[in-house]
Assembly symmetry: C2
Homo-oligomer: 393 residues x 2
């Protein structure tokens, strides 16, 4: 069997490569749109293919609760169930151990969740999480891990690292499907020595790919970049590196620079449903007065369906009128923005011009300031805790 | 200039024809998907073209309030603003005089509305309604009329007919754009002599097409069919007839049988967003247990995008999980069902087999019983009154 990952080119630390999966190849660096419950909110598989998506992420915790592993297995696995039929990855439910802290208890043997749907109790152990993910059938799967919140004290992070390593080993032992690739997850918060310990422990288990977890959970951007640096410096060159939960344009550029190959994040789709759209200069809010009679598209040089078809005035009206179409058009625009960014990053690496692309990107793209960004993230997390299954807007 | 309407064939009272508009031809009988606020809820123009939509309906009251006539005019008219670029028709706001009775006052000179958005007052007179619709720029436009609720007493209906005729004449005088076709509207409730009076008065004004209004507002199906019979028997053969607000599959068949050429209704799109889907045998509810592991599409012989791409199990899951994609997929299925029905009705007329098609249709399609149907309609109307601008589900 062909290995999962082929490294094509390295340019100033940034890497281009290819993931070979049972459902097709994925060029890297790759951004995964998030289909938590088996649907990337507001768009369909044809939209996703048209925008250039190559790999989708589903969530084991949500899919296990609804529609249930058997339903997905019966349909031939997640890719088939969704009508996507391309490469998929599932997260284990470990992140819900962080985001749904009021509904779970972390024990020696796993995470016990109280279902946000009906209050029933479910035990996510290394063995059950492997069994669920083998049933769901994604190409790349994740062990269950412990994600310590940003700001955790050193002892909590030490414990999270220890448990993550122990569970990773148990997951590896339980994993049977050779057509699925089980990654290891590096934890360690923002403590360089703990990141380093975790990376050493996890890589000693020899996984076909490695995820960097426990970031983008409340720490500063500088801390996140540093932790990412520590982790990637210790990960083997010939295995893909997946930075979990990261996906703002500036973070994608900076973490590709640090040697990351794969990303996922709800940010582009979540902010789209609030009318916040990515453009060359940063973010705009489409429902502000200046777009009321704007004939031009959201961005004239954008090649997405929304920009090719509709004026800013129309998209702005759809948001004001709360028309369902608004959410789809905005999601298409933001995802295409991110997926095009990934295509451009890859191209710049392949022609050896990554550093100049990176510099050029930062010369025009102005992210929201850090305080705004962290406040937004906090609000989202609180909404997520209230209604884990459905945050349409 | 070519006339608006060309009658191709009459078969047992059912008619096939063509509307020639400035934005293209429309084969009749035609069903118009409803884009109240300039968007057919949950779908986009490409979806609509793929389903075979040929003519869309917008609403003057809603569009005037938001985004405003000037915004639409600036974009080159409704068809262009929506990215649809095909034929459109606007209703005048007369129906909101019925559906928003708690927010309006009918005077001698027009209807005064209190905006459901900000409480401001707006006068819809024959002159302003013509001016608004000329700005919005649909191919077919409607005079302002008075729609008496089902169950109105004879005197109220007499008054509604008188006012409707007087306003129709004033609208005709105010109307200036020769590329737009202003229809007359026949009122008269369920009183045969009043329907007949209204038809005589309105046809004497010589409009290029006639609408039958004031039906599907709480009367029984038998009363609706009878009133439709009375009206069409008095309308000129060479002008299109448009039955306003009617669009259940059984009513479309029965009213095509009575010589109607055009229809509009929110029913197919509204019930779709509640998971109620049309199939050969009637309606199903997709979020019931029997679809949980159903690999087959909603209807195997259906040619819609949803049925070509997704299993019933997946659509059912999307509804249970409240994923936004559910509403689009269900809307596509129901609209395609209705638009295919119209295509088949037209074909049966053209080959002289309308009666056998009608018989065959009723042999398999079982509508919900009348009590259920009226209760559902009542609930919708109440929701409409609470939030006229946004009833997503």
């Amino acid at each position: 069997m062909m290995g999962l990952f082929e490294l094509n080119k390295v340019d100033s630390g940034a890497r281009s490569g290819t993931l070979h999966t049972a459902h097709g190849d994925v060029p890297t660096p790759a951004f995964m749109p998030v289909a938590t419950q088996g649907s990337v909110k507001a768009v369909d598989p044809a939209d996703l293919r048209e925008m250039g998506a190559t790999l989708l992420l589903g969530n084991t915790y949500h899919l296990y609760l609804r529609p249930g592993v058997e339903t997905i297995q019966h349909a031939g696995g997640l890719a088939s169930f969704m009508g996507w039929n391309g490469p998929t990855l599932t997260d284990s439910g470990g992140f819900q151990g962080y985001s749904l802290e009021h509904l779970r208890q972390i024990t020696h043997d796993g995470i016990i969740f109280k279902s946000h749907i009906d209050g029933t109790t479910h035990n996510f152990s290394p063995a059950t999480v492997m069994s669920h993910q083998e049933g769901i059938g994604a190409d790349i799967i994740m062990p269950i891990d412990v994600c310590a919140p940003g700001g955790s004290d050193r002892n909590s992070v030490i414990e999270a690292v220890e448990t993550t390593t122990r569970w990773a080993e148990l997951c590896q032992k339980s994993h049977t499907r050779s057509d699925q690739h089980l990654f290891g997850i590096v934890q360690g918060g923002v403590f360089p020595d703990l990141r380093s310990n975790s990376a050493t422990q996890i890589t000693s288990l020899e996984f076909p790919g490695y995820a960097i977890g426990g970031l983008s959970v409340g720490e500063s951007k500088a801390e996140m970049y540093d932790a990412c640096d520590v982790a990637t410096s210790l990960l083997p060159i010939d295995r893909p590196r997946y930075l979990m939960g990261v996906g703002s344009p500036e973070d994608l550029v900076e973490c590709v620079a640090r040697g990351v190959d794969m990303f996922d994040c709800v940010l582009p789709t979540r902010i789209a449903r609030n009318g916040a759209l990515f453009v060359t200069e940063g973010r705009i809010n489409i429902d502000t007065a200046r777009f009321k009679t704007e004939d031009r598209p959201i961005e004239e040089k954008c090649d997405c369906y929304t920009c090719n078809t509709f004026s800013s005035a129309y998209v702005s009206h759809l948001f004001k009128a709360k028309e369902l179409l608004a959410y789809r058009l905005a999601t298409i625009h933001n995802l295409r923005f991110i997926l095009r960014l990934m295509e451009e990053l890859r191209k710049s690496i392949e022609v050896g011009e990554f550093e100049s692309y990176r510099k050029e990107f930062h010369s025009h793209f102005v992210p929201p300031d850090e305080r705004t960004r962290r406040a937004q993230k906090q609000r989202w997390l609180e909404a997520q805790r209230r209604r884990p299954d459905h945050i349409p807007l």
